[in-house]
Every structure is written in C-alpha cells, then in structure tokens.
Assembly symmetry: C2
Homo-oligomer: 351 residues x 2
C-alpha cells in the first residue's frame, strides 16, 4: 500500500487553533466561505480544474469535454412559496452545469433523511424532482439514501451531482472577463431569498413573493446561439454582489453597475426595505449574470428577452480596467458606492 | 414553460398514509431500503440506467461509456479505528465506480457541516481525503460547502459523486450471474462494522479491529486482466448477505455458500459472538464479491491473491439454478440455512 501522508506533514495556510469552529457564515457564499474554500479545500486538493473555482469543473475524458458539478441543498423550510427542496436540487445542479455553456445530461441524487420525516412529504419531493428533471431534460441515473437519527439532521438534505457535455470549444469562465464587456442580468432579483424567508419567518406581503427556481439550460442555449459570452454564473448564495465580486476577482478587472438598471419586483424591493436587507445580497435560483463582449451585447440581450425566462433581462453595467478586483455602483440617487463581497449570508440556509 | 405535473396525477406504488414516517431501517441496506428505493425512487425516476439498481450507472456520452455514482457518508463517529469519514467518502465512491470494471477518474465532494464543528477536525478530514484521492489515483475537481445550525446536523456529512471510464465493452452487473458461476470474496469480512461499533460504543477487544476501508480499483484492474467476470459488488451496508441476495434477485438464480470458506479475523468473529451480531450482515469497506464463470474462477482467484488487497481471497460458493432468488449456506457444523436479505441494518450509520 502507498505510504500514508501524516496530516502534520502538511501545513494548512488557514491558521487554525484548537478553539476555531465552523460558523454558519462558512456556508454563506461570502468572504468566510471563500476563505475556507481557498485556504483549505483548494490548498489540499490543488488541481487546475478545481483551482479555477467555477461552480463546475471542466474535465476531459477521451476527446470529450464534460462539465461536472455538485451541490448539497439544506434549505429550511423544505417547502416554500414557488418550490421545494427537490426541484431546487435538480435545477440548482442543472444551472451550475450549464453556466459554462454545457448541455446537462445526467444527475445523481444523494438523500440524507432524518428519522421521523413523514413519508408523504418525501413522496411529494421525489415527484417534484421527477417533474423538474423532465422539465430540464436531464435523467436521474443513480442515487443513494441515508437515514440519520432524529435530531441529527433536519428533515431532508439532498445532494445532486451532474454531468453535461460541452459542444463548443471555447472557455466560459469567471476569469475570462475583459474591460469593455457588458454585464447582463436575465431578470428580477431577490425573489428566491425573500420567498424562503417569508415562509420561514411566517411573514406575509401584500403581493406574495414566489421563488424563481427554474432550469436555465434552455435560456443558456438561446444565449449561445446569439453570440459568444465570456462568463456566466447564477447569483445564488450571496446574490448579485457575490457573483460580480467573484468575476472581478477572478479576471482582475473592475465592474461598474447602475442600480436603476437592475430589475426587481416591487414586492421584493419593498420586503427588503422593511426587513433591512440589501437586495444585491439576496439569493436567486433562476437568474444568470453574463459578461458579454460589447459587440455581442445587444444581440445577447435580445436573445434573452425573447426567452420566457429572460423577459425582464437588462444590461446593468460594464467591465472596466479601473479598480481591478472591485465592484462599484451608481445608486438610484446618483451617488457612487462600493459593492463589497458579503462577509456572511444575510439569510442562512437559503438553498 | 412546461406544464407542471401535480403530485396527485401520479400514484406511488408504496402505500403511504399520513402516519408513515422514515425509520433508521430505511437507510440500512436491507429490505426496507430496497422497498423504498424500488417503490418510490425507481418508480418516480424510471429509466434503464437507474432501474438496474447497480451501485453505479453506466451512461453514454458521445462514443464513450462512463460509470457515474454517488454516496453520502454519515458514519458516526467521524474518526474510527483504521480510518475517518473523509477517506471513507473517497474510497466508497471509487469502489462503486469500479465495480463494473470502470477506471475511476474524477470526484466531486459536497460537505454538510454542523455549526460548531472544530475547524481542526475538518482540516484533518480534508487532508485525509487528499491522501485517499492520491492513493486511489482520482482527482477531486469540484465541490460544495453547506453549514447547518447546531443541532440540525451531526458534525459532518460528506457526499461524493464520481465518474469513471469503461475501457472494455462487456457488461458487469448484478443481473449477469449464470448457474455454475463461482462466488469469490476478496478477503476477511466484518472488519469495518466492528471497528466503527467498537469506537462508537467504547468497546475494546484483546486484538484491536481496524476498518478495512481502501480503494479497490487496482484490485479490480488485476482481476480483469485475469478474466471476464459477470458481476462485482463491495458488500458495504447489509454486508455479504445483502450483496448475495441482490445478486440472486437481479439474476434470478440461487446462490449457495459455505460458511467454513468465508475468511474472517478471529477478533472479528469473537466480537460478533460476544455482541450477538451475524457476521454475514456486518459492513465492509474494502472487500469485493465477484461472480466468475467457472472456467475463469481459478485464474481470477490467483490474480486476487497476488494483490496486496486480496491475499485472503477465497472461493466461498457458487451460483445454482435451484431456488432462484435465494441464498443458502452450509454452516460450519454441516447444517444448511437460508441467508435472508436483512430487514434492517444491525448497526446504523456505519458509512
């Protein structure tokens, strides 16, 4: 057998004392999570596909380039306005697969169920996953079921992993942005986060807010027909702010957006105001942000708007060579502010 | 958008009342789990790759056949004699990928961490996964991190999914057994289950028992060089008894084994006796069972024995046309008993 490496042979760049513990913010999509991933996981596993820190890895098998990704879903509650943990788990992984332009094909499902969960709820969620897979055009080919003792889980956690096929030969990745690129957003933001929060906290709004969870692969296919894009990402945990900061950091460029160009439903912006939440940090589950070369931007925007999932699409900003690594915004009242990477998620367990 | 199927449009063949709840046995590897999988998951997701109910799916992308699998690991405790949840998560998925003869290539890792977990423990486990991936020759290319509130998880759950490449063109599957096939077992059984139990319950034995967790892909490669096999599976949850029953059921054949041919360490059989456990149902994490055509059996057995992980390999029985779907055993004292599918796992949360 191979010689075992002792942990003490390696020095982790994340300074760890015996008192350091995992906090909710380590799973938030913000700075603490990025830090944990970069300094622990990327340090340990260290390989070109992982190190890019896209939401999916591109791997080559034979002459074929594949897109491979995974996500665990721990959303609380498991049923929320406009969706449930089952369809979220299917769509979330479908969306991560296709953000580099790949066509999603196959999914795996791993369930961790808490003892005592009503079987009827599990059935509802499985049926919801079936419908979601059909809608997205993917096949669930393999799975695993674990049960943990009552009080050692929280009803249901679902992991999905998935494989897609890359049928083009260019690279769509967070590190491909160039100054001059236009930033496009496919629709209204904040719907998912506010929908989950309203259910969890028992809030009701005059106009009910529903999650935007949906599969984005057909929208992506439509976009790619209209023109080559440099990067795409779905702004889930950490919202639009986290995604734009990830883009700016990975490509070492500045990004400037205009608040009055960002589409938002009145009910969602109203809820954010009442609850003291910053809309830019609220999670989405059916939107994408694309960085598009300037000569293709109008065509891509038209393609988005012609798709049912992109009707509210807008050009919200552009990539600059100033202030590399930073995101700034012209506010509605004409001021200018920095849009920083969130430190932690305002709303934990949102997906 | 596609029309949404309402759950009430579908009738699940698993009779569910509002009082039915998930029990630990639904994750046990026994009859209750098989029932849940067949009647709920396979019914809902229904496709040829999944319906085979092998531990991995074979999918075609372009002209390439791939092996795709997933497993979640919820073992309690997360550190146990001979291993930890991290290496178990790597080896478990590597082993599932290769049981159809595929060469494992890429893994994804999804972590669900409980708030408050010591960061130093997470680091140890990540380093252990790094070492395990290197030992198995696979690359961890993508991942996801979620954190759940204290009391809503149990330190750490890890999901791994993985992809391998099939470089032969025949089918190795549980439904391929033929009467006359020999049943080979690659080494001593029960080590993993007893090791985890000893740690969890604070038991100590005269000779300490360590988990057998290890990657089996190099042993599989050696086996395939020696000859074509009909089926392979690693007897994890539910032990040797569950795997043999799955084989007998899927191929509609009988299987007869001899108790005195089954390799077991004295400390493990002693522990089983003291604890009242049936060895045949105790989990393994570094063993495989193969069904081999009679003319290849001797060569495959020699190949196993020449590999460091197969030194204790033995021919433990054969496939018959009698009593299709059933497993029987000649006991050490010369009697004959039925080896039934376990109803539930004797030891929950073993992997």
């Amino acid at each position: 057998m191979a010689k075992k490496i002792k942990p003490e042979d390696l020095t982790c760049p994340l300074p760890i004392t015996e008192h350091d513990t995992i906090q909710l913010a380590h799973g938030s999509g913000g700075k603490m999570m990025t830090d944990l991933i970069s300094r622990l996981f990327v340090w340990a596993f260290d390989n070109p596909a992982l190190n890019k820190q896209d939401d999916q890895a591109v791997v080559e098998i034979g002459k074929q380039r594949l897109s491979f990704t995974t996500d665990s879903f721990v959303v609380d509650p498991i049923f929320f306005p406009g969706g449930d943990i089952g369809e979220l788990a299917v769509y979330g992984t479908v969306n991560d697969i296709c953000m580099n332009g790949a066509r999603p094909l196959y999914l795996s499902v791993g369930m961790i169920i808490e003892e005592g969960m009503p079987l009827a709820d599990l059935e509802k969620i499985v049926v919801s996953m079936k419908r979601a897979a059909e809608e997205a055009g993917v096949v669930i080919v393999t799975g695993d079921t674990k049960v943990v003792n009552k009080g050692k889980g929280d009803k249901l956690f679902i992991n999905t992993a998935g494989i897609g096929i890359l049928e083009h030969d260019y690279t769509i990745s967070a590190d491909q942005l160039r100054p001059g690129d236009k930033i496009l957003l496919s629709g209204t933001i904040g719907d998912h986060g506010i929908a989950v929060l309203s259910k969890r906290e028992g809030l009701s709004f005059e106009t009910p807010v529903e999650s935007d969870t949906c599969p984005l692969n057909s929208l992506v296919a439509q976009i790619l027909k209209a023109g080559h894009v440099h990067a795409m990402r779905d702004p889930t945990r950490g919202g639009v702010a986290a995604t734009l900061n990830e883009f700016a950091h990975a490509s070492d460029v500045g990004i400037h957006i205009r608040e009055d160009h960002i589409p938002v439903k009145p009910a969602v912006s109203g809820a954010c105001e009442v609850l003291g939440l910053d809309l830019l940090y609220v999670a989405n589950e059916g939107k994408l942000i694309a960085a598009v070369p300037p000569d293709k931007a109008e065509a891509v925007l038209r393609a988005m708007k012609s798709h049912p999932l992109g009707q509210d699409a807008a050009m919200i900003g552009e990539v600059t060579s100033e202030q590399p690594g930073m995101v700034s915004m012209t506010t509605r009242i004409g001021g200018r502010r920095i849009v920083d990477m969130p430190v932690a998620e305002q709303l934990p367990r949102i997906c």
